[in-house]
């Protein structure tokens, strides 16, 4: 059969098909050659990790933090929280809208304190979440059975165990992880940690400067924009030298200086200044307690930053 239509191709079609097949064959042969003849490179493990850390800090600094700040797809959906200590991202994970979160944060930043559930739902925008959140609120830190905290502690412990095991196992290649002393470090070193970019590093430094230094790692959670996962990832990489904390003389500091301290704030600084003028200098923390401006938790935090002359 000369011109069987099922097997007939024009000359032009045949030429095109031959060229197409040739190009496909050429590309396939290249791929085959790469598979067969490209020797596997052997590198020392520390060199691979060093390259990775350098790359990590560059890519993190390019990240658009505002867009991805509160987003993380892999966290617990429902967890108990203390409204006086929770951060924005955790609230976003619970499905609360930005407006309501913003209202709560403004209230807390101005020195407000949520005393009970009724008080919490009086925050504008929170009432509509009553059904979802009423069983999740916690107010007593000592009895806190926050599943997020438990998970964080467990995970943090897992990481610490892993790192310790790695560092002490005799035959296992050691992954050298740099431990950073956070009161003496700079922002460049902070950016070497996973999850810490230029913005977060600068916030850590700013918060440290305002406080005078950190006395415990958990304070990092108070930083604006610090996600729970980021905190979990870096907490085992941080150590603290409390001798570097810059303390404030509560009796010598003026109102502006006291207002700058995150644990005091503007309003309380004004009251403290007036109280000091009327009642004389503070001799110890007991005197400070008498002002009734701080609860026990706040006082336990403040004691690291104050000295009484």
């Amino acid at each position: 059969m000369k011109n069987n239509p099922n097997f007939y191709f024009t000359r032009r079609e045949r030429k095109s098909i031959v060229v197409f097949a040739f190009v496909a064959f050429f590309l396939t042969t290249m791929l085959y050659a790469i598979y067969r003849f490209d020797d596997a490179e052997i590198k020392p493990l520390p060199a691979i990790l060093k390259d990775e850390v350098a790359l990590n800090s560059i890519t993190e600094s390019r990240k658009i933090k505002k867009r991805y700040r509160s987003l993380n797809p892999n966290t617990t959906k429902v967890f108990k929280f203390n409204p006086n200590q929770v951060n924005e991202d955790s609230l976003a994970m619970l499905g609360i809208d930005r407006k309501a979160i913003s209202n709560l944060m403004k209230y807390l930043n101005k020195g407000g304190k949520i005393k009970d559930m009724q008080h919490f739902f009086k925050i504008y925008g929170m009432e509509k979440y009553r059904n979802r959140l009423d069983t999740l609120l916690e107010f007593d830190q000592k009895q806190r059975s926050n599943s997020v905290t438990e998970n964080k502690e467990k995970s943090s412990q897992n990481i610490k165990n892993t790192v310790t095991a790695l560092l002490t196992a005799p035959d296992v290649p050691v992954v050298r992880i740099k431990i950073i002393e956070i009161n003496g470090t700079d922002s460049f070193e902070l950016q070497m940690m996973k999850g810490i970019g230029a913005f977060m590093a600068s916030r850590i430094i700013k918060f440290r400067d305002k406080l005078g230094g950190y006395y415990e790692v958990a304070q990092l959670e108070e930083i604006y924009g610090m996600r729970p996962e980021t905190f979990m990832a870096i907490s085992h990489l941080i150590e603290i030298d409390t001798s570097l904390i810059r303390k404030m003389d509560i009796n010598a500091a003026n109102e502006a200086e006291m207002a700058k301290h995150p644990y005091i704030g503007k309003k309380r600084a004004g009251i403290l200044a007036k109280y000091r003028n009327h009642h004389g200098i503070f001799s110890d923390m007991v005197d400070l307690q008498k002002t009734r401006l701080f609860d026990e938790d706040e006082l336990s935090k403040l004691k690291h930053y104050l000295f009484f002359q």
């Binding site: 097997f7 098909i17 097949a21 052997i42 850390v53 991805y68 290649p173 992954v175």
Partner: protein, 700 residues
């Protein structure tokens, strides 16, 4: 006459697929395929471009061209085998049981009984030095590992753990997970208990990483607006192609109601996205010609980025390629032919990765569209509606029916079921899902600009999703929503496919001989099923399943199955293992054997304690209940179950066949083997060699 000139890629696609299929089935060295291809290609190149054109017999020239593509398929299949790649980690692992390495997380972790992660292995390490490797590996972390659960695609991790090859499931009729993973280049799995750290991020390459980050962003938006887990899971599956959150029960409901295709991102989703985008693009004035091209390029870029976001499955890639070509053709006012574009997509995708031919996503996607394109005009023309509404309804009915025709054989062959109410699910659920899809996409697009509007849209979105899920559940709850237990042998599957192909050719050529052949093949199919059914009515088979940590066996006597063991096996696991095997043997009745105190007589069968006499054959179940009559086992089959240990009272003889199930292991197994050897009995261990089906009429 079939006008192949209108579909130049049609024949080429068929030749390419034939080459890929043959190469995968027949063991021919790759170098032979490459040599044959190279020789034929060079000869054709010489004939077409260099030699003076004298009249070339078109039949020979045509065959030559098709053979080139056939050999190209064979060569591509050979080159893409994972073993060819010297850097594949399987060449390095060998018989090691523990490994440590560095790799990049490729997909969002799936959290079910454990945290399962697909990882692109980059380095295998030992003693502080690492070797470059390639290809993906499956890693399993503890279910409680919250760090692993929080991994994000692109995270580069260091890990160490226990490594094993992916084991084949030897149970008859069960999904071959090993083959499925092998088609993706995965040969091993690693179990990591502790000892994994993130050492870096953004390791997936620029485009893919951006796509994964965008997917995570979109998933978080749905998480924010959809507090209900099922709604969130369906939204993620439908819009983003992430099915890790869909529960098994929900998946089964979708599958039985004929709506499971909605959960897989495909052409419908791309069409909806294109519709949403065109709504915005059409608002832009098109006075200048470059604006038209800019719109086209932007639309294609977004569609392809969406393809990457949804994981670039075969179905959505096929749709994206077709969309690109059709849109380009429309903008350029070229004539285009859907069948030719479909064939071109097949050729392009198979040249890129010939292993796609064996993936269900690829097969269903192409067959469904081919079926729809071909049969829809014929079915739609059967009825001319008077009213517009009835016409619209008939359009959807004919489209649903058309799409099912070529997909039917593979649905039954692969999934052993058929959704009876597929027409019903083509109405309400599909419509609701299309609306929900549009809203979901709008919410994602508007999230950075107007969250207040999104709050309103989200409440409508939640309502639509709720209605959609309820409609699927309603269809699923209807009586006989799914015909289960359907089974084709490989031959029957091909009879049906070939008869459908002949029927399609008949519709084009109108030659009665083709219809005759098609109907003949259908008759042969019917005859084959009839023969199998008749054979099943007189069958006596013993099947001992390979079930980890448990004992399960079936004795088929006619269409009745007597279940031996199974008390220690999870019912879901048991159903997974025996369901298809029983269906393929037309089992209509199941009797649970209750051990020693359970005696009964059936046609051709006497059960006394743990001893069953079927015709002339005796099957004794040896477990920790030693009934009097089962102690003498000098003839027939002895089924060792529940970890039973050897007892001296047992009498074995040369006529005995001992089959030890998966609970007989270690020292116990060695003891049984030794005793069997001493008494001249035959011995088979499920733990060592996998499940077994013994035809009692033919013997062991």
């Amino acid at each position: 006459m079939i006008h192949w000139r209108l579909y130049p890629f049609g024949r080429l696609a068929l030749a390419l697929m034939a080459g890929i299929l043959l190469s995968s089935q027949v063991l021919v060295p790759l170098t032979l395929w490459v040599a044959a291809f190279f020789v034929l290609l060079t000869y054709s190149f010489y004939k077409e471009f260099i030699s003076a054109y004298n009249h070339r017999h078109s039949l020979v020239a045509g065959h030559q061209v098709l053979t080139i593509f056939f050999l190209l398929g064979a060569v591509l299949m050979g080159v893409h085998q994972p073993v060819v790649d010297r850097k594949h980690y399987m060449h390095r692992i060998g018989s090691a049981t523990e490994i440590e390495g560095i790799g990049v997380i490729a997909e969002i972790p799936e959290i079910k009984r454990s945290v399962r992660v697909q990882l692109i292995l980059e380095h295998l390490c030992a003693a502080d030095s690492c070797m470059e490797v390639s290809h993906e590996v499956m890693i399993y972390f503890d279910a409680q590992d919250s760090i692993a659960a929080a991994y994000h695609p692109g995270d580069r991790i260091w890990f160490q753990g226990r490594v094993t090859t992916v084991k084949t499931n030897t149970n008859p009729g069960v999904f071959d997970y090993k083959a499925y993973l092998w088609d993706k280049g995965i040969s091993h799995q690693v179990f990591v208990k502790a000892g994994h750290i993130v050492v870096g991020r953004k390791g997936l390459g620029f485009l893919r990483q951006q796509a994964m980050d965008a997917r995570a962003f979109c998933m978080m938006i749905f998480k924010k607006y959809l507090p209900d887990h099922d709604q969130e899971a369906i939204a993620n599956a439908m819009i983003l192609g992430y099915r890790g959150m869909v529960s098994e029960e929900m998946y089964r409901a979708f599958s039985d109601s004929g709506s499971v295709h909605i959960l897989a991102v495909s052409g419908m989703h791309l069409a909806v996205l294109a519709e949403v985008l065109m709504f915005f693009f059409d608002r832009i004035a098109q006075r200048k010609s470059w604006v038209k091209y800019l719109k086209l390029v932007s639309l294609l870029a977004i569609l392809w980025f969406f393809t990457l976001i949804t994981g670039a499955a075969a179905a959505v890639v096929r749709s994206a390629v077709m969309f690109s070509l059709v849109l380009f053709g429309k903008y350029q006012r070229y004539h285009y032919n859907h069948f030719n574009i479909l064939a071109f997509c097949a050729v392009a995708m198979l040249i890129y990765d010939p292993r796609l031919l064996f993936q269900a996503s690829f097969q269903f996607s192409f067959l469904a569209l081919l079926s729809l394109s071909f049969f829809y005009p014929f079915i739609n023309s059967w009825y001319m509606a008077d009213s517009r509404f009835v016409g619209w309804v008939w359009q959807y009915v004919s489209a649903s029916m058309a799409a099912q025709i070529l997909v039917l054989p593979i649905t039954i062959y692969a999934f052993h079921k058929f959704p009876v109410y597929f027409l019903l699910s083509g109405f309400v659920p599909v419509w609701l899902s299309a609306l929900a899809l549009k809203l979901g996409l709008l919410i994602v697009i508007l999230e950075p600009w107007s969250m207040a509007l999104n709050e309103i849209l989200a409440s409508v979105f939640k309502f639509l999703l709720k209605m959609f899920i309820n409609s699927v559940r309603w269809v699923d709850s209807l009586p006989m929503s799914s015909l289960d237990g359907l089974h084709f042998t490989t031959w029957e599957f091909w009879y049906l496919n070939v008869s459908l192909a002949l029927f399609m050719i008949y519709l084009v050529l109108k030659r009665n001989s083709l219809l005759f052949f098609a109907l003949s093949l259908i008759s042969i199919l019917g005859l084959s099923i009839g023969i199998r059914f008749y054979a099943a009515s007189t069958q006596t088979k013993l099947t001992v399943y390979d079930v980890a940590g448990g004992s399960l066996a079936d004795l088929f006597v006619g269409t009745t199955a007597i279940v031996l063991g199974g008390e220690t096996v999870n019912p879901e696991k048991a159903a997974f293992v025996h369901k298809e095997h029983r269906a393929s043997h037309f089992i209509g009745r199941v009797i649970k054997s209750k051990g020693c105190g359970d005696n009964f007589i059936m046609r051709n069968l006497i059960k006394q304690g743990n001893r069953i006499k079927v015709g002339k054959c005796i099957v004794s179940v040896v477990n920790n209940e030693f009934c009097e009559v089962s102690l003498e086992m000098d003839t027939g089959y002895g089924l060792l179950t529940n970890g039973v240990s050897w007892r001296p009272e047992l009498k074995l003889g040369p006529g005995t066949v001992l089959i030890a199930d998966g609970t007989i292991k270690g020292d116990n197994l060695r003891t049984w083997k030794r005793q069997a050897q001493q008494s001249g009995a035959q011995f088979y261990s499920i733990a060592e060699r996998g499940a077994i089906v013994v035809d009692l009429k033919k013997g062991f």
